[in-house]
Symmetry: C2
Subunit: 344 residues, 2 copies
């Protein structure tokens, strides 16, 4: 197949002779990818923050048509158009039944999502069919939002769940990347009365407002924290979504959280240490991790199909997959919030 | 007054010429202490882990009779027998109204609790009168459990609240000190179906069982964690109360927590860093801090007066306050779980 490979930091190549993934277990499926995208976490190896010891396929967000299924797969069949959660799960184990599918005992990950074919472990437990889609694929206008359901929208949703966003409360979103913007959607959908987005980029502010942010704070550091405290009447936020993953963002998150609240985090930690003393003295908790995509997916798909949410707007650059190297560069240089890739 | 002073590590003295605390603000009260005790956190300066730069009174857990009140105090009067929460609060600010009185904007602390007189800021918001107590003081059999309501029982309760103990779930208590044992009471009262106490001391195991522990795990480290995993059917605990405060205890707590659960912590952090990667990969949160004693006190007092709980059993040594130095030594050397001091 044709697929994206990473060879070394900043060395992303779209190659034409990558071995096809195949059904090797009765619970597997192969998905023919129509649309993919680049994740913020793909930038860690791109930037060399995570090592790349040998060339391998990359990309864990995709949607497409089921191409083949193993003998035990019963809920999807070749030709179905599906959302592929980046983290695969059997959806039957104790962790899945408790809504924490990202800790499934049979957890798997998409590893060739930016290619023509992606292998899915535990197809029955993972894949969610989009109803009413024929061989021509979904309505073009829906594609970006369906694409967002593979990872970024459920991840923003998870940040809000982990932070304990509740109706009538105040939610602060630290970070205006695609996850943070989806966190705004989530907090708004969950009924937060005030949704504060910390963002200093005008285009992202606009999108945040369209997604439901009621307040924007452009300042960072102490000045930004003071602005949030003022918005919250000096009390602090009832829930804080930390959607950056750096130490500075973590510090800001705890400083604006009201005593007794929680900070939700969803980025793979890279050097950010929770401030234990502040946590103790303020009684502010920290919760989060890899999003259990499958848990949220049916509800989020309903919201997308009903036109209630439109997370696909986070894609402000769209390229043919052959230009995947530029897709990474644009995000790395912050020329794009998130890049959608047309694969087939 | 006569009161306990700390001069330096392991230098605890009961002195006879300590200045009396006085009402200096209209919201103050002075309490004549009848009973006090030594807290695990008193051992930090005793052991030199926290510096003592100059001699000062020590002790933050006490009960007794109101001796004097400021002009604005209206809910208690001289002669009332009261529980003194170690953390004082106005019980009217936004944090107090949200149940997080330990972050009150007017928070204060008892600082001469192991002495004859203790000053209480915000008397109206802090002190809880024990009903039906005459000048002779409370029923002798009740004294230890009333004493436990000043700090240790509400702190154990807070660990359970922070960990999210719920009816029918499994709670694991890491640590068999007085706080951990009170955490067992809390988890049991909150309806946990399995309450696992990690303890290797026979006397503490017995007390834990009397307090509601359904399972005891004597092993530590990996072996202990494996035992907990077996008790929880390989899934891990729905809630973990970390009642030690060391790095090893924190590691064990996260290792036995099921994905999606929370670790509750209530000890002042001393070098224990939460394992961010484990938190992320397992989606296990961390919450807790200084207990909002006043929030839980009315309910806990009801439980004590009804004979439903008897947290006073954590006191396995009782001494006249003049022997306070021995009270510290006994706890430091783990000859006593917790020492009660008769003051007047």
């Amino acid at each position: 197949m044709r697929a994206t490979m990473i060879h070394a930091p900043r060395d992303i190549r779209f190659e034409t002779d990558v071995p096809d993934p195949v059904v090797s277990r009765p619970t597997d499926a192969i998905v023919r990818v129509t649309t993919a995208c680049v994740c913020g976490s793909d930038l860690w190896p791109y930037r060399g923050e995570n090592p790349t010891t040998e060339p391998h396929t990359i990309g864990h967000e995709c949607i497409g048509f089921v191409e083949a299924v193993g003998s035990e797969v019963s809920t999807v069949k070749p030709g179905d158009f599906v959302i592929v959660p980046f983290d695969h799960c059997d959806n039957t184990c104790a962790h899945c039944r408790a809504g924490m599918q990202s800790a499934c005992v049979n957890v798997g990950m998409t590893v060739s999502g930016q290619g023509e074919l992606a292998k899915v472990n535990q197809a029955d437990g993972s894949l969610v069919k989009v109803p009413g889609v024929g061989a021509a694929g979904p309505d073009a206008a829906l594609v970006p939002s369906l694409m967002a359901l593979s990872d970024v929208m459920p991840t923003g949703w998870h940040a809000a769940v982990a932070a304990g966003v509740r109706e009538g409360g105040t939610a602060v979103v630290v970070g205006d990347g695609a996850v943070g913007l989806c966190g705004v959607i989530a907090a708004s959908q969950m009924g937060a009365e005030k949704v504060v987005l910390m963002s200093r980029h005008e285009s992202r502010q606009k999108l945040g407002t369209a997604f439901g942010a009621t307040h924007l704070v452009a300042a960072r550091g102490e000045e930004g924290e003071a602005a949030v405290m003022e918005i919250t009447g000096g009390v602090g936020a009832d829930a804080v979504l930390e959607c950056v993953g750096t130490g500075q963002a973590m510090t800001t998150a705890f400083n604006v959280a009201r005593p007794g609240s929680r900070v939700g985090f969803v980025g793979v930690p890279h050097g950010a240490e929770p401030p234990m003393r502040t946590m103790f003295s303020k009684n502010v908790g920290l919760a989060g991790g890899m999003a259990p995509v499958r848990e949220y997916l049916p509800h989020l798909l309903d919201l997308v199909l009903a036109g209630t949410i439109d997370p696909g707007q986070v894609f402000d650059l769209r390229l043919p997959v052959e230009q995947v190297a530029e897709a990474y560069a644009a995000m790395d240089e912050r020329r794009a919030i998130k890049t959608l890739l047309d694969v087939s």
